[in-house]
């Protein structure tokens, strides 16, 4: 991959990487740092990376940078115990996506990662496995668990409302 292809990858995927990271960190400044670190690492190895595989390489690098960052930030989360967003508002008008992203923030990191890669970027199970270092069965299990958790959260909201 030459410099022109690298710059093209910046235009194509910087926003995607940023969205992926900011959903994890919920901190745009932190996400900026991760994005910069990601592209800096990719530039160091750009001669070894094929242009057609740069997207998966970027997300793999971003994922590892994210894990390192999150370890430093030492965040923890479980979906139980989350404050029910929109509870005091009119339950018929709350933004589903906003509620979902609140719930997403409470998922374990690995479940959050696989769901974001699946829904935001449309990766297949084997691609997600390659990025995260898991196997396909593990990816499927994490996605299933994450979706169950999100559905349960929405269901609980409706019951409370």
């Amino acid at each position: 991959m030459n410099a022109n292809e690298y710059n093209k990858a910046v235009d194509q995927y910087a926003d995607n990487i940023f969205r992926f990271v900011v959903k994890h960190t919920r901190n745009k400044m932190l996400a900026d740092d991760v994005v910069q670190e990601t592209f800096a690492k990719v530039w160091e190895k750009h001669e070894e990376v094929a242009a057609e595989k740069v997207k998966s390489y970027l997300f793999t690098t971003a994922y590892h940078c994210l894990i390192n960052t999150m370890k430093k930030e030492a965040r923890s989360g479980s979906i139980e115990g989350i404050e029910r967003a929109g509870h005091s508002d009119n339950p018929h008008l709350f933004d589903i996506q906003k509620v979902l992203h609140e719930a997403l923030a409470r998922l374990p990191e690995v479940q959050k990662t696989v769901v974001l890669l699946r829904d935001y970027e449309g990766y297949h199970y084997d691609e997600i496995a390659s990025i995260t270092g898991l196997n396909e069965s593990q990816v499927k299990v994490y996605i299933f668990r994450a979706r169950q958790a999100l559905k349960t959260y929405l269901k609980d909201l409706e019951l409370v409302a």
Partner: protein, 346 residues
């Protein structure tokens, strides 16, 4: 035969005793030993392995399978099949069968609706604003064409010489202008090639002085033949302001001065006397010579066009306060591009 069991060897009998493999005299002897030594009695409850219960979530267990098996569709496994449909793992037939099951079990239709809502959509308002800082320079050095580089070098050289006070004289000797009606001399320097053949012949052109100072005759002493170009067809000028009139100028009837005309001496402020002059009689033209003949020749050959550069010494004052009749300045020509500067003679 009596069997002797004591603290040193009882252990080898103990396991058999626990398993009930001792009998007869051996059993009686071991039981007598245990009665005599109650501190070595081991808890006689048999050790057993507790069976572990399988604790895997059935939905997760189903998720590990390659393809969904609708035979296991139930209220407990409904989530699995709903997620499978959302992940695109169900065939059209299987999806239809799931719909039929939900119609038969209306209480679970809300679960199906909520599961469809768990699909995340990215917020496209989140954009990375510093993309330009991530990019790397990808330009390449484009070599300038030789002609462009040579022209830039010549222009820079001319600017440099413009800033200097004087210029070296032409080693071939100054070129003196002809007086009015004066014929060229035979011994005038003419550039010759290696065979001794002159590459240019002295030619005389006439220009009209717009100020009415007369006809100026210009003789090309150092005409330079550009490769492949007929010298005599080129307007060669060896004196500033002696440029032959163009065809337009000649035919217009109204001769337009090329430069500012010199006013009568003493009528203008001092500064104006330094302006470039056009219509100066030939006899009063300052000496103009090419100080860098090798360079201009090389440039001419490289650019395949006529390159000429002439300078003249600046005006100098004598000890008595009057200046010599010499004007400074320079003249640069590259192809059709010409630039000149002239200091007035005093």
């Amino acid at each position: 035969m009596s069997i002797h069991i004591d603290r040193l060897n009882y252990e080898e009998y103990y396991l058999d005793y626990l398993e009930g493999n001792l009998s007869g005299d051996v059993l009686a002897a071991f039981e007598a030993f245990l009665e005599a030594n109650p501190d070595v009695v081991i808890d006689d409850e048999p050790a057993t392995l507790l069976p572990t219960e399988e604790h895997l979530d059935p939905v997760i267990k189903l998720a590990l399978k390659q393809t969904p098996d609708l035979s296991q569709l139930s209220a407990e496994t409904l989530d699995y099949f709903l997620i499978s449909r959302q992940e695109g793992l169900l065939t059209d037939q299987q999806s239809s069968q799931l719909d039929h099951w939900l119609e038969a079990n209306i209480q679970y239709r809300n679960d199906a609706r909520l599961m469809q809502l768990t699909k995340l959509t990215p917020a496209f308002s989140d954009v990375y604003t510093w993309k330009n800082k991530l990019k790397r320079p990808a330009g390449r050095i484009i070599p300038l064409p030789l002609w462009l580089g040579s022209a830039a070098a010549a222009a820079g050289l001319a600017f440099f010489l413009l800033l200097s006070d004087g210029t070296p004289e032409n080693p071939a000797g100054p070129v003196k202008p002809l007086a009015h009606n004066e014929a060229p001399k035979d011994h005038d320097p003419i550039r010759r090639d290696g065979n001794g053949t002159a590459d240019t012949a002295p030619s005389t052109t006439e220009t009209v002085d717009p100020a009415g100072a007369g006809i100026h005759r210009v003789t090309n002493y150092q005409g330079r033949a550009s490769r492949g170009v007929d010298v005599e067809s080129m307007p060669n000028v060896d004196q500033l302001a002696m440029r032959p009139l163009s065809k337009i100028e000649r035919n217009s009837g109204n001769l337009v001065p090329l430069h500012i005309e010199k006013a009568a001496a003493g009528n203008l402020p001092t500064a104006l006397n330094e302006l470039a002059i056009v219509s100066t009689p030939v006899s009063k033209q300052p000496d103009m010579a090419n100080p860098i003949v090798p360079i201009t020749e090389r440039l001419s050959a490289a650019l395949n066009t006529d390159v000429d550069f002439r300078t003249a010494k600046a005006a100098k004052r004598t000890a008595k306060g009057s200046s010599e009749a010499k004007g400074g300045g320079f003249y640069l020509k590259i192809g059709k591009f010409e630039i000149s500067h002239r200091s007035a003679s005093r």
